[in-house]
Amino acid sequence: MGFGRFIVVRVLNALLVLVIALLLVSAIFSAEAERELRGRIEEQITNQLRNNPQLLRSMTQEQIAQWKAEQREILYRRYGLDKPLWQRVLIYAWDQLRLKLGKSTSIQSLSGSSDVATIILEALPRTILLFTTAQIITTVIGLILGLKAAQSAGSLLDKSLSVFALLTASLPMWWTGMLFIIIFSYYLGWLPSGGMISTPPPEGSLAQMMDIGYHMILPVFTAVFVSFGAWAYTARSVVINQFQEDYVMAARAKGVPERRVIFSHVLRAAAPPIVTMMAFGIIGSLGGAMISEIVFNWPGMGRLYWIAIEQRDVPVLLGNTTISVDLYLLVVVLMDIIYGFLDPRVKVGAAAKL
């Protein structure tokens, strides 16, 4: 079957992209990672020597230098630093591909673990919670508003929507976030200015969930505020285009109830572009908006990335990048599959292109 082959090709394609991306990222980061590693090895040797005063006293300067060189060689071999650079890049990439993300150099998870996977798995759900919630709210409000505007094209609602969309879409989210923090947190004192949970956290899981929800209000509101206008405007154009299609006119001429015309003909046919927009919105949100997470002090993927850069924690940087690329490609492949079901033309077209 053509569509099955199409999916297989898309998956292989995604894997190829993944390998290339991981090789590139490993190549970029490996030099930095090694400099870091060499530094740590030096430190380790010095510490060893310092912690062993007897050994230190029993050796001459030359012997100390020689001992250091021996230790260095042993450790270099252990960490693979004796191999040529290209081989080490391949090893890094292979580890990333297998999701063997290694240990962080300085960042620790909440539970004190320095396992990169644990650190990321801690940050990822928080980002999903915040931005995916915002994305879903944006999508729902945007679709409803866009549909309403399209149904009454040229009306006051429609015109004010386009102005509002232009206005809010040009506001950077972090700037709006700061503005809202000033208004709602400092002046009005209604909402917390940042963080995910109060310190100390309230007792009981229900109370904790409520507390997290309370902390989410401002960032979610900000994210929705800056994006739902543009969303509605885009949905409006898609739907207006649909309204002008002959088959929508035909459905109305057939005497089909208007609700069904809207849902079964207009929205159903408009689904592919709308789903694409949604998928990209979700992909974008998974990476976490770095600056926005910092503004709201939200401990998600974006903020983790920033901290990793600041602290030169290469394993975390690499792992974060790998997970982001994995998720991105996963969504793209999923979207290809969904697309085939939403638009029967895709299956044939896709099969024909192979």
Binding site: D246, A250, A251, K254, G255, V256, S264, H265, R268, D343
Partner: protein
């Protein structure tokens, strides 16, 4: 009583620059089993007239006056939900211009055909689909295409499916808006023959809208020529086609290339159709008319019967 009676119909597009009088004071009748052709240049209001008959003008179009009675029921001013449940598709159905786009690409053929049956008559989807299969067979298609999607069919097949869709609820009147425009000549002939035989078999009344007079004379009992929102000539096909009276009709027929007869050059009508925002006073054709005379730019000509059943709106015959 005629099946369809249209009297003084006015359909305007209410734009910010003024009223576009796309259909202005049009009257005609249609008997059961009869076929009428509506012909004219692009923008003369023939499609607007077609959509007015099911009271489904795209905004800002509106019927602003006159009356349309189908089977004695007044359509103008009828509430939307009654139009939907009683008139559209049950009394009057449509075969759309450019069948390519009249079918929704994301639904199967069967679903789209069966849809109105389900909503109007409350039959189950399964029964409605089996009825769709019957009608697909009637128009010469494999009934199994109920499970296919529009993009899997050729242009001619789609046009046949659209015809089957129009017939499914046994309408009294079928409006065919340029049903053969996007098709090649061979398929065009097949579709026209199909429509002719369906008309005989089902005793259908058809209003066929086209700018292609040759196609129209094939199928129509009567022809109505429209110019700038008005009917300027209406009568039996062979009379209008063979012996046109209105100068516009004569020019229009002169503009058709003929293979058999020797033609020095293809005629054309100088000038352009008038702006319907502000049509010329008197006869709307007078600025382009070769035989205009004194009253033409002052008085609007009425339709007069020049021979039995053949009506012309021109001062040449009424002055």
């Amino acid at each position: 009583m005629a099946l369809l009676e249209v009297e003084g119909l006015k359909s305007y597009y209410l734009t910010s620059r003024g009223e576009v009088k796309a259909v202005d004071n049009v009257s005609f009748d249609l008997e059961r089993g009869e076929s009428l052709a509506l012909a004219g240049e692009s923008g003369c209001g023939k499609s607007t007239l077609g959509f007015s008959l099911i009271n489904l003008l795209p905004p800002p179009g509106r019927i602003v006056g006159g009356s349309i009675r189908i089977d004695g029921i007044e359509v103008v001013g009828m509430p939307e939900d009654r139009l939907r449940s009683e008139v559209r598709w049950r009394k009057i159905s449509m075969i759309f211009q450019g069948a390519m786009n009249a079918l929704n690409p994301v639904h199967t053929i069967g679903r789209q055909l069966a849809e109105p049956l389900v909503f109007h008559q409350g039959v189950s989807w399964a029964d409605a689909i089996s009825r769709a299969r019957e009608y697909l067979e009637l128009v010469g298609l494999d009934p199994d295409i109920v499970n296919r999607y529009p993009h899997e069919l050729s242009g001619g097949m789609k046009q046949r499916a659209v015809i089957a869709m129009a017939l499914l609820e046994h309408p009294d009147l079928v409006i065919a808006d340029e049903p053969t425009t996007a098709l090649d000549v061979i398929v065009q002939a097949q579709i026209l023959n199909l429509m002719k035989s369906l008309k005989r078999k089902l005793n259908l009344s058809i209003i066929m809208i086209s700018h292609d007079l040759a196609v129209l004379s094939e199928i129509a009992d009567r022809i109505a020529i429209m110019y700038a929102g008005k009917i300027v000539e209406i009568g039996p096909s062979e009379k209008v086609y063979g012996n046109p009276k209105h100068p516009y009709t004569q020019k229009l027929l002169g503009a058709i290339p003929r293979l058999r007869q020797k033609q020095e050059r293809l005629e054309f009508i100088p000038g352009a159709p008038p702006n319907l925002l502000n049509p010329p006073a008197g006869c709307r054709f007078h600025p382009r008319c070769p035989s205009r005379f004194e009253p033409c730019d002052r008085r609007e000509p009425e339709l007069v019967e020049v021979e039995p059943g053949h009506w012309v709106a021109c001062h040449l015959y009424s002055w």
